[in-house]
């Protein structure tokens, strides 16, 4: 079943503004891991705003869970390049924030706080943050903050997880560690993910399907299924098969550059 569906969606900012994205059609199956790659300024973030209902499309239709998106959606998990953790809350309280807001949980929050805290601790332990529950965000390293940020996006078991370049600000080693963390989380209990990134290796390593977008206005150029066997080990990124996939995608992006130049 398709969880997210775009039907000929276009979007421009303002009345006369340039097209941010143009005529986009795509669909995301339930529990599919989709990556969207493209040069910066190709409207990847606009795509996220459309799915979550934070902005309405100028043209076309967006469906989430079979219903047309109008207005902000309930309980979509989001994580960005900046972790956006709240500095006055401990790590545990930070990741429990969605439980205080999402409709299904907020009424039970006070009564079942201990249960929720237990869930939070368990999730933190799964991403390797056991022992950091009572630390404040600024006491964590950049990679750890980003782990916590992803935990916050997942704690309420959202139907859809949106990741907007969540590893963009991290060093190469930490980034690979976090790829594996997301892979393990997804492998253990699958959920639907849309990952927006400009890192082709990241996209191929994590995703089931990669979409390549062109720039100004953003259009979908290629839809590339990645059929590398799962679970994928980090070593897969050094195989010829992997390199070929990355190279093929790179080629498309290279062509976009030439055409616009």
């Amino acid at each position: 079943m398709d969880l997210v569906e775009f039907e000929n969606v276009s979007m421009r900012y303002g009345e006369e503004g340039p097209m941010a994205i143009e005529n986009i059609s795509l669909s995301v199956r339930e529990n599919e891991f989709v990556a969207v790659v493209g040069p910066s300024g190709c409207g990847k973030s606009t795509l996220m705003k459309l799915v979550t209902g934070l902005a309405p499309p100028s043209d076309g239709y967006v469906y989430l869970g079979g219903k047309q998106v109008s207005g902000p959606q309930q309980g979509v998990g989001m994580a960005f390049q900046a972790s956006n953790l709240l500095p006055w809350r401990t790590t545990l309280d930070n990741i429990l924030l969605p439980m205080e807001i999402v409709q299904d949980y907020r009424h039970r929050f006070r009564a079942e706080k201990a249960t929720f805290q237990e869930q939070g601790r368990a999730l933190l332990a799964r991403v390797g943050l056991a022992g950091c529950e009572d630390k404040f965000p600024w006491e964590l390293s950049g990679g750890m903050q980003q782990r916590a940020s992803i935990c916050r996006a997942l704690i309420h078991r959202p139907s859809l997880l949106m990741l907007d370049e969540p590893f963009g600000a991290l060093d190469a080693f930490t980034r690979e560690e976090l790829w594996c963390m997301v892979r393990d989380l997804w492998q253990e209990e699958p959920f639907t993910v849309v990952l927006v990134t400009h890192d082709l290796r990241e996209a191929v390593f994590l995703a089931d399907t990669v979409y390549v977008m062109s720039k100004g206005p953003g259009r979908i150029l290629v839809r590339k299924p990645v059929d590398l066997p799962r679970p994928r080990d980090l070593a897969v990124t050094y195989t010829d098969e992997f390199a070929e996939l990355v190279f093929e995608l790179r080629d498309h992006i290279g062509r976009i550059r030439e055409e616009t130049a």
Binding site: L54, P72, G75, F80, A82, W88, W138
Partner: protein
């Protein structure tokens, strides 16, 4: 005592050292140039006045403290409410700001006679002047604290289905607390300015009145004693808010000393 401990002790003692040094310098200047007391009293003269008029000074000081705190309290309540409105709605922001800046540009001393016509002399105009002069920084800081919230953070919350009230309660208000406390420290000192101004113009109680009547008899020692008492009250109130601030928003300075 290690070097580090000595340095810490020096930092702690530094305001007192500076104060004593300046007082000694002041005394020395008055003594060396034999400045007459009715022009510029030396610290010892001020001390003598304090000993002589301790009772009346304390009576007027408590009254000034009361009017200041009352005006300040109204300013904080009003300032927070208006600040939240201004900071969370672009429409109110646009509409209210020019008016407020205009109003704040009016010298409040020029407004005291109007208040006297409306409410008579004494306590009420003093409280109102303290309020009028000190609410502005609270409004501006609350509004700034709320309006500078990261848009991405808002996206995260809105995609969870948070209402505007949720965002305000869970994130925007706690986030603007450092701005709020910074404004309190400015506002309390301004509130003293307001109440004393009003007392000097139209009152028969309060430190302002005491100073005006003392200066009309050229009793400069008493005038300066009044000034010193106001300054001390201001510092004490300031320190109180600084203490509460450290307890409540330690996360903003990350538990370290607030300096570079």
């Amino acid at each position: 005592m290690t070097l580090l401990q000595r340095k810490r002790l020096l930092i702690k003692a530094s305001p007192w050292i500076l104060l004593v040094t300046l007082a000694l310098l002041w005394e020395l200047v008055c003594f060396a140039f034999s400045v007459p007391t009715y022009l510029f009293p030396a610290p010892t003269d001020i001390w003598a006045s304090w000993l002589e008029y301790q009772g009346p000074i304390m009576k007027h000081a408590t009254h000034t403290l009361f009017t200041t705190v009352a005006g300040f309290a109204i300013a904080v309540i009003f300032g927070v409410i208006l600040g939240v409105l201004v900071g969370s709605s672009p429409l109110i922001y646009k509409a209210v700001y020019p008016l407020m800046v205009g109003f704040n540009s009016i010298p409040k001393v020029a407004f005291v006679p109007v208040l006297v016509v409306w409410f008579g002399i004494g306590t009420v105009p003093a409280i109102l002047t303290a309020f009028l002069i000190s609410f502005f920084p609270v409004v501006v800081n609350m509004a700034t604290g709320l309006a500078t919230m990261e848009p991405e953070l808002q996206d995260v919350l809105r995609s969870l289905g948070a209402s505007r009230l949720d965002i305000l309660r869970k994130v925007a208000l706690p986030r603007s607390m450092p701005y709020f406390f910074a404004s309190l420290k400015v506002a309390i000192t301004l509130a003293f300015v307001g109440s004393v101004i009003s007392e000097t113009v139209a009152s028969n109680v309060g430190i302002g009145y005491l100073m005006i009547s003392a200066s009309s008899t050229m009793d400069m020692g008493l005038v300066f004693a009044g000034l010193v008492v106001i300054a001390i009250m201001g510092v004490v109130m300031y320190e109180m808010f600084a203490f509460v601030e450290r307890r409540m928003t330690g996360w903003a300075t990350r538990g370290s000393d607030p300096a570079f």
